[in-house]
Amino acid sequence: VPERVTVVPGTLDLLILRAVSLGELHGYAILTRIEQITNGALQIEQGALYPALYRLEQRKFLAGEWRTGENNRRVKVYSLTRAGRRQLADETDSWTAFVRAMSAALRARPAEG
């Protein structure tokens, strides 16, 4: 089992958007999808998933829809909206830039002189 790290604050939204961008999912499936695409390296506080989902839904990045699934269970399925897709692209860009800058900073060596 690889060592699990907790999610950097503020990145859970991005992870959710990414997970849902691969296909519409219900809450628990979003969690397993995130574990899957991160190879289980990230530990997500499961209870925090739902407030994040509602927040994204409220900001119209996700669209939630109640459906009747197998065994007649009501399941809320989330899908990415167009605004969500745009948000995902923007956030991905800035995250990539952030990571690049952080990595560069942490790799920097004193100049040889």
Binding site: G27, A48, Y50, P51, Y54, Q58, W66, V75
Partner: protein, 323 residues
């Protein structure tokens, strides 16, 4: 947009439904997680326990979720308000027209309601208000311009009603008129009513100074008299009971009795009258229903008020008048 509005309206009332949705979602999550753990080889009870543990504090999570959902409508409202404000700024002429239309519409409705409220909904403050009826002749159906409208009644008709229709305790007539009030070197137009002598008694309106009109006041050559309302007395005559200069008939300046009218005696009608606007002339003079002499005269602009006898119902009174 309409859907959005409905959601906004429903939002504060949807708390119960919201809680249920959150509970459903959490329950499903825990169940699916437990099933997964079971598939990984954990016994059922242990799987359920682990699922709960991993989820964290369910109550706290639900509370946080609810907090997000509860403020949803506030967010939406502020979004909508911002959107509306932007739109109004962009189409400022259109907005101005819309706002003005609303303002005028509401204003008009309010004033119409005030009038209708005063005339129709509030009980008249006359004694026996429930027994007072408004008598009027009406134009025939389909009469040009105004079908079945209140119309003038000739004075003899009114006298006939009074004499022949036994349904009424008394019948009085009122007619709008204009007077010129000359005082302190100015002439002022006043709106007033001419009324028959029984008018004030019929409405139960007292005079606090002087007297009401008597039958003798309508005789030819009688001294002209005027009754003014309490408000007029207070505001215009400075509550002076000795004030003798009173309003004068309009258009009669050349007549011989002019000087006498100018000195018409004032009576002051008590405030209690509480007359509805239709009757609240500021000054009244006696009015003669000229019988005999002017029998062939053109229809007069009179409205009649009668008081029904206590035992008579309205329908019977109506039939007797029209019969």
């Amino acid at each position: 947009m309409l859907g959005r509005f409905m959601a906004l309206v429903r939002a504060p009332f949807r708390r119960g439904a919201l809680d249920r949705e959150i509970d459903d979602e959490f329950a499903l999550h825990l169940e699916l997680r437990a099933a997964d753990l079971e598939r990984q080889g954990l016994p059922r009870a242990e799987a359920v326990r682990r699922a709960r543990m991993e989820f964290g504090n369910v109550t706290r999570a639900a509370e946080r979720a609810r907090a997000v959902r509860r403020t949803e409508w506030i967010d939406r409202l502020s979004q909508d308000v911002r959107y509306a404000a932007r739109g109004m700024r962009r189409h400022s002429t259109f907005s101005a027209v819309a706002v003005l239309s609303l303002a005028f519409g509401i204003g008009a409705a309010t004033s119409v309601f005030s009038v209708i409220d005063a005339l129709d909904f509030r009980p008249l403050q006359f004694h026996h208000a429930d027994r007072l009826v408004w008598l009027a002749e009406v134009t025939p159906p389909g009469y040009e311009g105004c079908s079945r409208c209140d119309w003038f009644t000739a004075p003899p008709t009114m006298v006939d009603w009074k004499k022949q229709a036994g349904s009424f305790v008394d019948v009085a007539a009122v007619r709008s008129d204009e007077f010129v009030w000359q005082h302190d070197a100015v002439s002022e137009a006043l709106t007033a009513q001419r009324v028959t002598p029984g008018f004030f008694a019929l409405l139960g309106s007292r005079t606090i100074f002087g007297r009401g009109f008597a039958a003798s006041d309508t005789a030819a050559g009688a001294e002209p008299v005027v009754v003014v309302s309490y408000e007029f007395w207070q505001a215009r005559l400075h509550a002076d009971p000795g004030r003798r200069r009173a309003p004068r008939r309009a258009g009669r300046t050349a007549r011989r009795d002019d000087h006498r009218r100018a000195a018409a005696r004032c009576s002051i009608r008590a405030r209690d009258a509480g007359l509805a606007p239709a009757f609240s002339g500021r000054a009244s003079t006696p009015h003669r229903a000229r019988i005999g002499r002017d029998r062939a005269a053109a229809p007069d602009g009179d409205a009649r008020i009668g008081e029904r006898g206590a035992g008579d119902d309205l329908e019977a009174a109506r039939q007797r008048v029209s019969g």
